[in-house]
Amino acid sequence: MADKPKYPTPQGNPETKPFWDAAAQGKFLIKRCTACGEPHYFPRTLCPFCFSDKTVWEESSGEAEIYTFSRMRKSATGPYAIGYVTLKEGPSLLTNFVDCDMDSLKIGQKVKVVFKPTDGAPLPFFTPV
């Protein structure tokens, strides 16, 4: 295994602080609008669908499946796999696939969230189940 990659430290802001505080506890949060019922990611105070301010934090199962991916071969820090996953709760998000054999990744594959350390709050990544 190569040296542990050094990830950028999330800067955070008043709107997203609860997300990073929860991440430090190993919890992966999404937001849900209690007016229209829609979940979303990354978190906003106002719902990006109905614009209500009645949004609440919700802990995600962290279970997802791969929507698409690409293995980046041309990288100064070595190859890596980037992709979109769709959470069991609905929203899709950009991520990297870690702790896995990159060449075995497939669209539709089940993955789960895993946190990796930074100099501040940990960052969510996904790994095959």
Binding site: Y7, T68, K74, S75, L94, I107
Partner: protein, 382 residues
């Protein structure tokens, strides 16, 4: 109010350089502006509107000062590589509204021999920056999903590069003039799967400029008359992650708006400049604009259908971004310039479309699989 027929493309200029270690970025902007003015038969003092994007050092205030412009209308909308297609639409609006009468649009930069301005980030930065999204892997993800849903193949994507290379062989300024085969593309190194090196555009120093004006002024000049008859623009992003779909772009909205304003359909288009940052970019745009159905782009581009004189839809007859030029990693400007050359009958004789009186120039900017813009311009010869 419509912009249909209100704005004329009186001047075009593409810098011949692809490698400019001895020039500054601001200088390149000035050189392309001068070139477009000379093409139109106008002078700098005639310009009363100026449009530039994120490649202009210091933005519109610094750039207008450097150039010595005195304008009454300006716009520095930045939507990446399609900024200049957006500017053309906005210039047409400004001219139609009487806000300016002679507009200059410039693009220039030096990604090969100078620093690139950093990509702007937004509220998503903490939630995405760590994952090292690049143009290659984001477009790779689009291609991967397109193949999964529609059975599109690497061979079909390769035909897009093959067609571009057939055109580039006649362009003395093209960075890559060698004609390539489907096998050449498939045998080139994998960059970010499923995209090979030859699925990717070139990186070039250079630039281009346009002069857009009123009918009255255009008719007083000596150039063939080319005018805008339709424009559309649109934005697309993950929007909170709901119903993510990487197989279509904002072109599904910009295209129909442009066609409706112009009163024409994709079947009427004689020549198309289609943004070609990667082969997949072209394939998705052809579908999104309605040249074929969604999912049938692979079949549409195969067997030379995009080669001038061979296929049904001649595209990027200058060799495009895949072979000729992609200044500052922004291909929108050169898309407009080649469309105007075709409409003027000034494309290379080997690739000139006979009686080309209706053309489309279309592009996307930003990152197709993440946040991006699309702009569609429909142009006709009068």
């Amino acid at each position: 109010m419509s912009i249909k027929g209100k704005a004329y493309l009186a001047g075009i200029y593409e810098h011949p350089t692809r490698h400019a270690p001895d020039k500054s970025t601001a200088q390149l902007h000035a050189e392309v502006a001068k070139g477009a003015l000379e093409d139109a038969g106008l002078t700098k003092a005639d310009i009363d509107g100026y449009f530039c994007a994120g490649d202009a050092p210091g933005g519109v205030m610094a750039m207008a000062d450097y150039l010595g412009l005195k304008v009454r209308h300006f716009d520095s909308t930045d939507t990446g590589g399609c900024s200049y297609l957006v500017h053309l639409g906005h210039a047409a609006e400004a001219i139609a509204a009487g806000k300016c009468s002679i507009a200059l649009i410039t693009l220039a930069g030096k990604p090969r021999t100078g620093a690139m301005p950093p990509r702007a980030t937004g509220a998503e930065v903490d939630f995405e920056a760590a994952y090292s999204a690049t143009t290659h892997n984001i477009y790779g993800m689009c291609a991967m999903r397109h193949m999964h849903e529609f059975g599109t193949t690497s061979e079909q994507l390769a035909w897009i590069k093959v067609a571009a290379s057939h055109h580039a062989q006649y362009n003395e300024h093209a960075m890559l003039r060698e004609v390539v085969t489907v096998e050449d593309v498939l045998n080139s190194p994998m960059i970010s799967d499923p995209l090979h090196r030859m699925d990717c555009c070139v990186v070039t120093d250079g630039g281009g400029a346009l002069i857009v004006t009123t009918e009255e002024i255009a008719r007083s000049l000596k150039k063939p008359l080319v005018r805008m008859i339709g424009h559309g623009e649109a934005l697309k992003g993950p929007r909170g992650g709901k119903d993510l779909n990487l197989t279509y772009s904002a072109g599904v909205w910009s295209g129909p708006r442009a066609f409706e304003e112009a009163g024409v359909t994709p079947k009427d288009i004689k020549y198309a400049s289609i943004y070609d940052s990667f082969t997949i970019t072209v394939l998705m745009q052809l579908e999104d604009l309605g040249f074929c159905k969604k999912g049938e782009g692979g079949k549409f581009v195969a067997d030379g259908n995009l080669i001038s004189g061979v296929g049904k839809l001649p595209f990027n007859t200058d060799g495009g971004g895949l072979c000729s030029n992609h200044p500052v990693n922004r291909g929108g400007m050169t898309k407009i310039i080649e469309a105007v050359r075709q409409l003027r009958g000034q494309a290379h004789p080997k690739v000139q479309v006979p009686n080309c009186d209706l053309a489309l120039a279309h592009g996307t900017g930003g990152l197709l699989g993440v946040r991006h813009a699309a702009s569609t311009c429909i142009l006709e010869r009068v």
